[in-house]
């Protein structure tokens, strides 16, 4: 039981650090990175909480959270890059 508590403390500390970076982050990309990391760590936290409270159904919630976290990050990045989420950009993607 105490092993889950130790893991949860590490996870919550990481969450706090990610949130701090999200607040401090000078550029928009730091904030997206921090939110993405916060989402990943939340997936781990939900999984550990599921084990801590003896409810394995939490793992479904963790999986869905991971799916949504990834989709959200990609959507925000696409909006930032192309200005809108609608139609695919007409011109080919110029290589950097």
């Amino acid at each position: 039981m105490s092993m889950f508590a130790a893991a949860i403390i590490g996870v919550v500390v990481t969450m706090a650090m990610a949130l701090l970076r999200a607040l401090m982050g000078p550029t928009i990309y730091d904030r997206i990175l921090a939110v993405n990391t916060f989402g990943t760590v939340t997936v781990l936290a939900i999984s550990i909480f599921g084990f801590l409270m003896g409810r394995p159904e939490f793992l479904d919630i963790a999986l869905i959270y991971a799916l949504i976290n990834f989709a959200g990050t990609i959507a925000v990045l696409k909006f930032l890059r192309y200005g809108d989420l609608g139609r695919a950009s007409a011109e080919p993607d110029e290589d950097i």
Partner: protein, 109 residues
């Protein structure tokens, strides 16, 4: 508990604590690194090492049940989408005009 149970508990305890430590190490890296490109390295530590160690530690706790299958699915999904999201982020940052630091801040730009 029989000896195997104790070994399993010890192993999962070690994995969970190591995973928590890697998560915190990545978190510190996200805070202290100078620009978004180096911070994405630190975020990668959290996504891969932290996730693998913690989820494998939970798998040992769950034993050979459906729960372990769910944990494996979560782990695979995290390992596939973590690098993809980081790649998309860094590509957007680069095309958004964010030049990576080449030297110590203030001199290298």
């Amino acid at each position: 508990m029989d000896i195997w149970g104790q070994i399993a508990d010890g192993a999962s305890w070690a994995l969970l604590v190591a995973g928590a430590l890697f998560c915190m190490a990545g978190g510190v890296g996200i805070l202290r690194f100078p620009d978004v490109y180096t911070r994405s390295h630190a975020a990668g530590v959290v996504d891969t090492a932290g996730a693998i160690l913690i989820l494998v530690g939970l798998m040992i706790q769950a034993g050979l049940t459906l729960i372990t299958v769910k944990l494996i699915i979560i782990l695979f999904f995290l390992l596939f989408t973590g690098p993809a999201a980081t790649h998309a982020l860094v590509k957007a940052a680069l095309s958004g005009g964010q030049m990576p630091l080449t030297g110590p801040r203030g001199k290298g730009e």
